[in-house]
Subunit: 333 residues, 2 copies
């Protein structure tokens, strides 16, 4: 591995979240598939936005949330993603830079506006996401700075990148550069429906292109088209160096070669909004493995980070994760 | 392996359960450690028995429950355990023989009466056990019929056998005969307090004397004196051929060499009485591995058997497990 400047560089859709509480009836009325992320166009986004009551805006995006979480833990990070040169784009840039993250991807100027994700949170803390990708579709291979990737221990890619066509090429270019530099590539499967859209590609990626896989139970069972977590676990073993599988209140299971860890979920007083749980887990886990912690502790840090994020509205940490981990797990970061 | 007559021979304390519902205040008043099995003498058993409201009697004993469960699945089984020649002893014998199990251990005639276990079930379905071992202390090496052990694919031993001194010798004799015949030995750790009493012996047993270990989360963390399930999991791997670790509503984890399975708990409409959950799981699991099923299916059968037993009062199945498994798991037994 080269002498790296960054622990992790994340590449993902640069999205501003618009969150609002709602009820299940609203989802039914507007035909929103509960718990999933659906892609919508700008008009639909405008219409739905008008229906949200007291919406709260916060920078989001799956990989961007993970990078913000890593920064909150004290990791050195960069982010690559495409905003438009508009108010939301500025707000996204300020937020991620404000956490100490390097974010130098040029904003698009002649494209659609900055992406937004309308997130509807039901009383059961489940989130239903409607995403307008906007400027994200402009992200392409030329946005990948080889030097940044060469200087990152891990390049982290969200599965959602597979949706916009040019971003997929950026994804592949980044993975290739990372491996050529002797660094590692990590992928989050993002969403069971995203897995459904790109199953063959993702299965192919796991054969040699991805070293560290993140998936929740729905995603990994969707990937292998099985009903049962244990069956998926058997399939994934041996197809990447490390697989970290999250299971909500059942905690996580981490497999790496012959090594297996079964980690309990961290306690949460009240689950308020599950948006970003997987992103935060990935942040904690990646922090651990880029800081010479073992997989057991890496997974526990992931669990505590996820617990923090689901205990309040919004997908990014509301308190500094570094001191939280030290306090809860007695691990010195 | 010789041409065996029995799938499993269980050796354990022959105990009649006396079950009654109670509340937490009763446990506090009588200083009964909740969730645990405590050994008491005959006088204390008499006194406590007098305090039980509408007690229900049913044959019990940890290994005996497992053997009864195996028989209910259609397994060919034998049981070795010591009753007294009294009414309770006759009832125990009739019940286990009634399930088709071979039970030929001679009753004691000049000993204490047949053992009983007073089980107090609190509204949270937790059971608190007070055991008077009675005639069980008479079980000794001479009660082990070498031909039965030689003719059993698996000899299954409960950790509670370590409490009465002569039974421990029977335990060791049986394990030695089983291994000399090329058969396998299985141990259930029984109870975290039992593990606490005999930790050094149990750790020693795992080095070459036990092929298949059953333990719940409290027992395995007690064995290795760690706080965390995953730590215990790392210790147990490689110390026996198969370890099946049960985790109540979190399901079970099975490890065998490089193989690992993480199995969900079977759904239960209402948990009524958790007595015998681990025993039933062991029954299902042992049925699976003595009938050429893989560890994944063996653990699922264990889970469904446990779910059946905790959905009603009493530690033995209330309905034939064989047809239940076929119905729930679509596995033909």
């Amino acid at each position: 591995m080269s002498d790296t400047r960054f622990d992790v560089t994340g590449i993902g859709n640069a999205i501003v979240d618009v969150l609002a509480k709602t009820d299940d009836a609203f989802l039914v009325t507007h035909n929103l598939p509960k718990g999933a992320m659906t892609l919508i166009d700008g008009d639909a986004a405008e219409r739905l936005y008008g229906q949200m009551s007291s919406p709260m805006e916060q920078s989001g995006g799956s990989a961007a949330n993970t990078i913000a979480g890593l920064a909150s833990l004290g990791g050195a990070c960069a982010f690559v993603g495409k905003v438009h040169d508009d108010v939301l784009g500025d707000s996204f840039r300020d937020a991620i830079r404000g956490t100490g993250v390097t974010f130098d991807t040029p904003a698009a100027t002649d494209s659609a506006p900055t992406a937004r994700c309308l997130i509807f949170i039901t009383p059961d803390a489940q989130r239903t996401m409607q995403t307008y990708l906007g400027a994200c579709v402009e992200l392409g291979p030329r946005d990948i700075d080889p030097e940044v990737i060469q200087n990152s221990k891990i390049t982290y890619l969200e599965g959602y990148l597979w949706d916009p066509a040019a971003a997929k090429e950026a994804f592949i270019r980044a993975a290739t550069i990372a491996h050529e530099a002797g660094n590692r590539v990590s992928l989050s499967l993002s969403d069971p429906f995203c897995v459904d859209r790109h199953r063959a590609d993702f299965l192919n990626l796991l054969e040699g292109h991805v070293d560290i896989l993140f998936a929740n139970e729905d995603e990994i069972t969707s990937l292998y088209e099985v009903d049962d977590f244990d069956e998926a676990l058997q399939y994934v073993r041996g197809h990447c160096e490390i697989a970290a599988l999250t299971r909500s209140e059942k905690g996580s299971v981490v497999v790496s070669g012959d090594e297996v860890h079964v980690i309990d979920a961290a306690p949460v007083e009240q689950v308020v909004d599950t948006t970003g749980a997987g992103d935060a887990y990935a942040a904690g886990f990646l922090y651990g493995i880029t800081h010479h912690l073992d997989l057991h502790d890496a997974a526990r840090i992931g669990g505590v980070a996820a617990a923090e994020v689901i205990s309040h509205m919004g997908a990014r940490p509301a308190e500094p994760l570094g001191s939280l981990i030290e306090h809860k797990l007695h691990i010195n970061l």
